[in-house]
Amino acid sequence: MTASSKIAFEKLVRPHFDRLYSLAWRLAGQKAEAEDLFQELLVKSYGKLDDLVKIDEPESWLSRMMYNLFIDERRRFARRRMHTVEEGEMTGDGIAGLPGPDDPAWDHERLERMKRLDTALSKLSEEHRLIVLLHDTEGYKLAEIQELIGIPIGTVKSRLHRARSRLREILIEDGTFS
């Protein structure tokens, strides 16, 4: 690989970093695993630079590669949140992005709401949690999810609907919603 290869690679992938980083978080669930997954994606895709330069939509291609990496190495990137739920500790993925008590933007009420959402999401099946996060939080289109996960769009829609219904049930049970 030459210096020009590195420049070409960076030019192709950097515009998609934020979205790919988010996807890694939503898939892996925690920082170390997410960054491991993100890093592995870059290493693997750099090795396929010849293919990457021919792709019209690098982001879809890279997202799909990341998803496949995650599935292939699920054990390695496995979420380790079950034990935290059992222990009653909320160290979930999303709330890590909230301001802390020393931050001027600290919002205790919002943090509590997000903790409950985090717990509720952890009670969904993996496939439901992922779809609802990708669609309702990250703003993925149904067709994008279909392409990413490789399931029919009807299945994506039904999973999304069931995921939302189940999520609401859980949030009613814990008193977040009335």
Partner: protein, 186 residues
């Protein structure tokens, strides 16, 4: 039917639930730390090149010493070499650990000059841990190297019989060297 239309229909199915949608929309996304993307790119191009060449960056070898194992990084070119290193010894050093019994691995880094603010990252397979960091698959800390040989004792413990490969990567600026160690558990 266009993709947007499909999404609109899916949204209408749940339009009675704006409260839930608003909550999910608000679910935060942690940002990458400053410089993370730059570092990830550098690591990827280094590692990608290394894998492509199908040879190990590691120029060391392992030898059992006392209770541990010493991995040597020989030569004064540590952290100053170009990617075109001499062909490396493809042998991956390995050790056998006993389940739940700590064992110390001594990493030896040789540097031609003192290095401040180098970082050492240890990546662990499932079932191999550093005592005090339960469940962590990657541990990074900062260190300084003096000129000559630097010995870093690394204590490991096997919590499952799976075994796997441990990677220890020393980085300074944009340069890095990676040790690889095969761990079997008896």
């Amino acid at each position: 039917m266009k993709n947007n239309d499909i999404d609109i229909i899916a949204d209408k199915q749940d339009q009675h639930d704006p409260e839930l949608r608003a909550l999910l929309k608000d679910y935060p996304m942690p940002k990458a730390s400053a410089g993370y993307f730059d570092q990830a790119l550098v690591r990827a191009t280094h590692e990608g090149s290394r894998r492509q060449r199908n040879r190990w960056i590691m120029t060391g070898f392992g030898s059992a010493v006392a209770a541990g194992l010493v991995l040597w990084m020989v030569g004064g070119f540590l952290l100053t070499a170009t990617p075109d290193l001499p062909v490396a010894d493809p042998t991956i050093p390995g050790i056998t650990m006993t389940l739940e019994e700590p064992r110390t691995i001594n990493l030896v880094f040789a540097s031609a000059e003192p290095l401040e603010f180098a970082t050492l990252t240890v990546q662990l397979p499932d079932g191999i841990e550093i005592p005090g960091f339960p469940g962590q698959r990657e541990v990074t800390w900062q260190t300084s190297l003096r000129a000559g040989k630097n010995l870093l004792p690394l204590k490991l413990i096997a919590t499952s019989p799976l075994g796997g490969e441990v990677y220890a990567t020393l980085r300074h600026d944009t340069r890095s060297r990676t040790f690889q160690l095969r761990v079997d558990v008896s």
